[in-house]
Amino acid sequence: MKISEEKLNDVAICILEGEVNISNSPELRKAFDGIIKRQDKKVLVDFSNVSYIDSSGLATLIEMFQRLKKIGGALRFSNLDQKVKNVFEVTKLHKLFEIFDAREAALKDF
């Protein structure tokens, strides 16, 4: 998995590429640690190039959701592939997270 970051106004955008799995979830947690340390409160995760996610990836996202909630922040997701989106739907996490089809729509929602 490749993780890159951008900042657009006050939104930290985390762009993921590849697979989010049990081997590389700690890397994602580390990237989220950096965002929290910088006190960015609005975070968008762009899934455009994510082809796979497992329950350890979901766990890492839930932890970030909780951390942001504690400091009054917000987490949004965009551009999920249908198979990846299905994992969120099966686990009903689409009810917990704010998921948008496009990055622009997610940014507007903050």
């Binding site: 766990a59 994992v87 686990t91």
Partner: protein, 147 residues
């Protein structure tokens, strides 16, 4: 086709181990089936390593896959003490949705057509009927037959 492999209880080895197995059967699967089968096998293995073998690297998990154009069956068996698979909480329940863990076996149960636990929870068999081999109406009959 039958595949039989063993993996030591090291979580970091799981994705590559699963990819190697699913690569051998991917010609039988649609893209969606491949995704769901790969995810189910990975979750069952992680569960076996974490909760079955308690991540003891001296213990192994055995995987047996039988596949043809109609159906794929995957058995994952650990060397641990077993566990009460009936006591697994529902991660979609309102009080559990915010919890970070506890979704692995739930995903397996929802992505596969049939899931059977055996040997006091040391083993899990996951079955998926394949679209390429069986027409949609026949899949339901097949599912009823096996229940």
């Amino acid at each position: 086709m039958t595949i039989s492999e063993k993996i030591p209880s090291r979580l970091e080895l799981v994705p590559e181990f699963v990819a190697n197995i699913t690569n051998k059967v991917k010609h039988l699967l649609s893209e969606k089936e491949l995704f769901n089968i790969r995810l189910s096998l990975e979750e069952a293995l992680v569960n076996a390593i974490k909760h079955g073998n308690k991540q003891n690297p001296d213990l192994y998990v055995k995987v047996t896959v039988e596949a043809d154009k109609d159906c794929i069956s995957m058995k994952v068996v650990d060397e641990g003490a077993g566990y009460d698979f009936k006591a697994l909480p529902n991660p979609t329940a309102e009080g559990n949705l915010h919890k970070a863990s506890g979704r692995g076996i739930f995903l397996v149960q929802n992505l596969m057509d049939k899931v059977v636990f055996f040997d006091c929870g040391r083993g899990i068999e996951m079955i998926k009927f394949l679209k390429k081999g069986i027409k949609e109406g026949e899949r339901e009959n097949k599912r009823r037959e096996i229940k």
